[in-house]
Assembly symmetry: C2
Homo-oligomer: 258 residues x 2
């Protein structure tokens, strides 16, 4: 008797990672990815290839506090044991926070309701010896102006002007429900942006643009015209990946994940 | 014409470091120390040996948000330039936050009024992929009991029971002015302890002991008897260095450092 793949238990992993040393979530030829690291350990344990499906990709160097990915596998192990078995073989910069069996119809990407990204900026004269997950910005910034620019992003809009190059998606319309700025100390600032989906490099392009507003290169109200233009050249530069975290992924309440 | 050493400008460095890869502050034969890394760059720049005097030592693996160290050197450089010159040659886990000239009589160790240490505990099932500077504690802890134990440490007391082995100091009496616990998230807890001075491994022994109280091995009030006993064997284990930070050093107000 054999099982078809769709009958195998649906195992969900909640994953935290420090993206510095990886080429991003997705398996690629040019270096180790989070996906390939975990899939390789799964293959080692199961003695066959399995594919991980994540809530979405993260770019090279981007971190996650809360990424979800699922795979289907019939095995002798309790679903909860996968976390410990994987952590035993994974590098310390990738941790499986837990593993659990999900209903067969659950899908880690298709069922995403919203995601929250966090972007951390260290605004002081000198880089940090202690924190590798921040964008070090030594220049002066008008944080009040930056704060004034954030509401212009909120709503359902066409974010084509904030989409990375070579991106192929059906529509560049996304709904941003929140774009907040919190000052954690005299020098540490954290952006939080929540939406129903994000285009390639969208958060980094949004942050890079509002930092230019903080430099005085544009007025906060310029965001309106940039969005309307749908022109990537009108927006600001792409902020570096090291300050970016996938911070939260929300699924329907019935799945009990949040 | 030549300058005597005492006439050379007194240069103070404010230093931040991630201690993971170092044998501690002090120069030692068995590996790279923060002191040796900085002294070696100073020697490279000045083409002669200089000695750094810190506010005090930190143990192997311990971090600092705010360490101070001074050296005397006559050079062609403005005092403020040392920070940039040193950072250019130092590893990214050691950063000079600033450099400045101090009055000739100022001494980085002798003029210390108080120090604050921070100890971070990650209390959850799984280690952190993102934060190397925490003590990962997977077991259950009664944080309310831990909180109740802290006031017993405050005051001028003989902390012999919390002194590391092979320590030679005149007196083990120290004054603790504050021992606080803050919960930063559902899983991250931070101790802050302020005092006029600390014995070898004193903070790590204090934290190790209150964690045993959180495990239910002792009552919070047991601290009184442990201190009175002056017996190291009565106190708890030594918490690991990776959660410990030298967080603040206070000097007399006239020096304008705080």
């Amino acid at each position: 008797m054999s099982f078809s793949l769709s009958e195998s238990p649906n195992i969900l992993l909640k994953i935290e990672y420090e993206g510095t040393d990886f080429v991003g979530w997705q398996r690629q030829a040019d270096g180790p990815s989070i996906q390939s690291m975990i899939e390789d350990v799964l293959e080692y344990i199961l003695e066959r290839r399995v594919v991980l499906y994540a809530s979405g990709r993260t770019d090279s160097g981007v971190h996650a506090r809360s990424q979800y990915a699922m795979f289907r596998a019939t095995s002798k192990y309790e679903p909860e044991r996968w976390a410990r078995m994987l952590n035993h073989k994974l590098p310390p910069t990738i941790r499986i926070l837990y593993s659990k069996e999900m209903p067969s119809e659950f899908h880690a990407q298709k069922h995403v309701i919203s995601k929250t990204y966090e972007y951390r900026v260290l605004n002081r004269k000198c880089a940090s010896a202690l924190d590798r997950g921040v964008h070090f910005y030594p220049g002066e910034l008008d944080w009040q102006k930056i704060r004034e620019s954030l509401p212009y992003f909120v709503g359902e809009k066409d974010f084509k002007a904030f989409q990375g190059a070579k991106s192929v998606v059906k529509t560049s319309v996304r709904k941003i429900t929140r774009f907040d700025l919190t000052q954690l100390s005299s020098e540490l600032f954290v952006f939080e942006v929540e939406g129903n989906g994000f285009l390639k490099q969208m958060v980094r392009n949004m942050v890079g643009t509002v930092l230019e507003i903080g430099e005085g290169r544009m007025l906060p109200s310029a965001i309106e015209g940039i969005i309307a233009s749908r022109d990537r050249r009108r927006a600001g530069r792409t902020a570096p990946p090291r300050g970016l975290y996938l911070a939260e992924v929300v699924y329907p309440e019935r799945y009990g994940l949040n």
